[in-house]
């Protein structure tokens, strides 16, 4: 009986652990409110960043925020669908460099910091975005 109770306790513990592990990254970083606030912060930071702000001079920033939100939301397992152009097409006419790609990544880190998202979660999001380098940078 004692053994059975122990097993049951362990099983419920394991299930709690599993449930937590199954929480999407989207949920872990704080869901829609936190991600929208982060995207807003990012746009503020990147428009102050002389390494990249000139590439957004003609950009409709409201539309950009919506697309970026959808993209990160979908990548992190949130309930969204990115319907914008693929990254290669979207950057076809922009002379992007690794320096610019890294600058945007750095600005996203700063935006997450401003929103109080823990660094290890920031890294998990950046890890999902990093492979896009090959489509964005020529």
């Amino acid at each position: 009986m004692r053994k059975l109770l122990l097993t049951a306790a362990l099983a419920s513990l394991a299930m709690t652990g599993l449930a937590r592990a199954e929480d999407s990254l989207f949920a872990q970083i704080g869901g829609e409110a936190k991600l929208r606030a982060t995207v807003d912060s990012l746009v503020e930071v990147m428009m102050e960043d002389e390494r990249i702000n000139f590439t957004f001079a003609q950009t409709d920033l409201t539309k950009f925020k919506g697309l970026l939100y959808d993209q990160i939301c979908e990548l992190t397992g949130g309930p969204c669908k990115y319907r914008g152009r693929d990254m290669a097409t979207a950057h076809k006419n922009i002379d992007s460099t690794n320096q610019m790609f890294n600058a945007l990544a750095e600005d996203l880190y700063i935006a997450f910091e401003r929103q109080g998202v823990p660094y290890r979660l920031q890294n998990k999001v950046i890890a999902l975005l990093a492979p896009m380098e090959k489509d964005i940078v020529k």
Partner: protein
Amino acid sequence: MRKQLACTIATAMLLPASGHAGGFLGADGGKLPLTAGFSDVEGTGGGGLVPWALITGYGSNKSWGANAHYGDVRLRDFDLRTAGIGVGILDRVELSAARQEFEATETALEGVEVAQDVFGIKVRLAGDAVYTQDSWLPQIAVGAQLKRHGGIENAGALVSPIQLGARDEDGADYYLSGTKVFLAESLLVNVTLRHSKANQLGLLGFGGDEESSARTRVEATVGYLLTRKLAIGGEYRDKPDTLGVDDESAAWDFFVAWAPTRHLSVVAAYVNLGGVLSPVTGVDHDQTGSYLSFQFGF
């Protein structure tokens, strides 16, 4: 030594460092903080004891970067100082030059000094340590460290490591490094294979009475990224043991690395270099102590 260090730092600071220039002539500071690595005890871009596959400096693949560094390993009975410069070109090639000065501060050898110059070249062969998060492929680089002995001083008739049983005064280490940042885990992992017969990094020459040829040995670094600018970790470096008068063994350290800006990084570590000349000094303890390294650059 002091004069040489001041000179190398002055040279690095005088070089043009324009943060946002697009062309190759402008250093673009294009990498993320921490991803330029540090300068190891041999002047190569890496951790403290182990070279990494990362190319030194903050220049991206269309630019360049450079730095000057000073490091001090204070052991129980010895002190090892390294000063030098490094240049990274197109995030592809790294060139470095460093001078090491090794001094006995305790035991019967107190006052004895040994010097060595290390010239390094490293070429990135494949991969990117940071971008390819969707693959296991690390950044891979090969490198060489050409070492020229600077003589032994304050040891009477003993002026060369040959007199201690070494086969050669000068020599070279060759290495293959794989470095990967596992971003989702906030981990940096590096494995290096070094082909070497250097005694105590080459300060006691190359090859010896107990073993004359080079062998390939393993070195490794594991770092955990605490913040965008701060990491902690450990390193391990197996070393040759070819001299009868020495009891050289593997070295390891635990480090804290901090890059507050793209112009300064600091590494502090607890280090154990293993045995150093114990049959001569008569001490029976490992050479443990502190490691402190500063890198200035762009």
